[in-house]
């Protein structure tokens, strides 16, 4: 079924501007606003699922019927629909969770409005076929997230939001300069035409510098290791559902997706850029995991672990780029499959982990692991879902994380890079240890005196956590069942293995 693509941006945008009108109209209007926001996220999820069953490989939508390159276009291909699905799942769960969780805060309609703006920005980034529109949507999503990180308005939260805003703006400026250089050197802002121009004239110094700016800018948004300083402050400071959105999908759409689209579809892969991504990925994996060990703040530990996990995704994609440039197409597509599958898996289990951390924080009033203990009996559902997510992130067999890591290891071995396979397994072990630490200190052991009276908050929060836990348990089917693999993952992998076909497909339509 072909969907008019701008609805993915229009629905959350209209919701974002409608919801603040309801603020200050009493309790009923407030719950109506919450209901509307939930309906919006659920309808986006349904549309994303419908988009998987479209009739063509690639769908191009010309806005206002102005043909490209004069007009602006939106493009839906396999990679975009995979990301749309991830955004749909995580935002639905986070919005369900917020229904109950955000009762602790004031100004709920403003929160809902910012949330919808962030979703609109992310969907826009994923669908945009125009470099400058990509930048505009990137800024919409980023600015909404700066405000959401500081939503609690405590000193610590405002400081984290300010730090995030400064570094995020630097990243945006890098991206804008990069886009300017591409425009100057190719004479077009349309991604397909830029790709065509770059691949006929080749990389000149200006374009190479633009690519470097994109790696730095999108790398900052994705929190790869030399650029990761903002993430461990920003993600724990946000309210839990927002942490889930930021770690689950925001760093992936604004960072990894945009970088991947630039490298694979516009600039074309080369051995140099492939190895650069591999090194960035490996450094992020190892450094993120080591930094996570020492954390005693539950959400901060999860944030460092996000850095490590994004490293896996970038490693898979970088390995794919290297192997593609060397002509090993089969192993390359396996590595890309591993990277993309890990991206989706991480979106699900990391957002679940952040939601469980929010549930723990709401019940106990603390994020410090040392002040918890024995919560298993008081918070049985939180404990179960957290254990499933931990098993999944550590790569224990039936759960989703195992399969994506296995694919990455197989791809690395197949390419003859045994040391990379060894590092993947080693970091996986580190991940297991750090999540055993969470289980041990938060859920097992003795219940402290002051936590004897706590209750688990259920209702919509429970629904959101169980939804994601079920997904975590059965996501392995996405690669194991051929039909699911062919509708969800393979189209996305094909977009990247034949990256330069993007221009041909878009212009040809």
């Amino acid at each position: 079924m072909n969907i008019p693509l701008p609805v993915f941006v229009a629905i959350p945008l209209i919701a974002a501007f409608f919801l603040p009108i309801l603020s200050g109209l009493g309790r009923k209007a407030k719950s109506f606003a919450t209901l509307l926001a939930n309906l919006a996220t659920i309808s986006l999820l349904v549309l994303a699922v419908l988009a998987l069953g479209r009739s063509e490989d690639i769908q191009v939508y010309e806005i206002g019927k102005w043909s490209i390159p004069i007009g602006i276009n939106m493009v839906l291909d396999g990679l975009s629909s995979l990301l749309l699905l991830a955004i749909g799942v995580v935002s639905t769960a986070a919005m369900l969770f917020s229904t109950r969780y955000m009762e602790q805060y004031t100004a709920k309609p403003k929160y809902l409005s910012l949330f919808m703006l962030m979703v609109a920005g992310m969907n826009g980034v994923v669908l945009s076929g125009d470099l400058f529109n990509l930048y505009v949507f990137l800024e919409i999503a980023s600015i909404a997230s700066y405000a959401l990180v500081g939503f609690g308005c405590n000193n610590e939260e405002l400081e984290a939001a300010f730090k995030y805003m400064v570094l995020g703006t630097i990243a945006s400026v890098f991206v804008l300069f990069g886009i300017g250089l591409v425009y100057g050197n190719t004479g077009t802002l349309n991604m397909a035409y830029a790709s065509k121009a770059i691949n006929t004239v080749g990389l000149n110094p200006g374009l190479a510098f633009a690519l470097a700016l994109f790696v730095a800018g999108f790398g900052l948004k994705a929190a790869l290791v030399p650029f990761h300083a903002w993430l461990p402050d920003a993600h724990p400071s946000a309210p839990a559902p927002i942490s889930a959105m930021l770690s689950g999908v925001l760093i992936k759409t604004l960072g990894v997706y945009a970088l991947t689209r630039m490298v694979f579809c516009i600039f074309g892969v080369s051995v140099t850029i492939g190895w650069l991504l591999v090194v960035l990925g490996l450094v992020s994996m190892v450094v993120g995991a080591f930094l996570a060990f020492g954390q005693w703040d539950f959400k901060r530990l999860l944030a460092y672990s996000s850095i490590s996990q994004v490293g896996y995704v970038v490693l898979g994609l970088g390995l794919g780029a290297t192997l593609l440039a060397q002509g090993h197409a089969a192993w390359a597509s396996l590595a890309i499959l591993g990277g993309l599958f890990h991206l989706v898996n991480h979106a699900v289990y990391k957002s679940l982990l952040f939601l469980t951390s929010g549930s723990v924080q709401m019940s106990t009033g603390t994020r410090q692991l040392k002040q918890m203990g024995g919560l298993a009996e008081k918070l049985p559902f939180t404990r179960t879902t957290c254990t499933i997510a931990s098993a999944s992130i550590a790569g224990i067999p039936p759960f989703s994380g195992f399969w994506s890591k296995l694919i990455l290891v197989v791809a690395a071995v197949g390419a003859g890079l045994y040391w990379i396979a060894a590092i993947i397994v080693f970091v996986s072990l580190c991940t297991l240890i750090m999540y055993l630490k969470v289980q041990r200190y938060a859920f097992l052991g003795e219940l402290p005196e002051n936590l004897q009276q706590i209750k688990e908050h259920r209702g919509s929060m429970l629904v959101a956590m169980v939804l994601l836990a079920v997904l975590c348990s059965f996501m392995g089917l996405l690669v194991l069942v051929p039909y699911l693999r062919a509708t969800v993952l393979t189209p996305a992998v094909d977009v990247l293995t034949d990256g330069l076909l993007y221009a041909v497909n878009v212009i040809g339509k």
Partner: protein, 163 residues
Amino acid sequence: MAANSSPSNGAKGMTVIVKTISSWVKMLIFLFGIYIIITGHLTPGGGFAGGVIIAGSYVLLMLAFGREFVEENLPLRWASRFDCIGALLFALVAVLGLILGGSFFVNWLFRQQILPSKALELVSAGTIPLSNIFIGIKVGASLFLIILVLSMFRPAHLRGEKE
């Protein structure tokens, strides 16, 4: 800002000269903003530029008469509603393009049988003037809100120094 040099003329705002002049000029600025918005499809300018000018007329009032005066004139809640309504109406124009013209942002009024018009007339160019008006409302209200909120904020060490 807001030098309190004329205590006889009320506690807030600048001197009587500034107040008198700005009370004359404010309407002119406001009207100029509207002019820029509604001729946006014919001359340079448009919704954004005109909206900024409209917000500018309120900022002039804020500088001359003080923040409280402006807040009585256009309460924060109403400014926020104008902001949202402007954006919603703009989105409505785009969505009507999908319903009536088959694609988002199609200029569905740009047909002689719906809206007979000649080039360079005030009523021409289909939905573009409408979009300009809605963007003008949105930009005017949101820029006004930004400056109002910035003027409300006082760092802790400056609080209580005035007033």
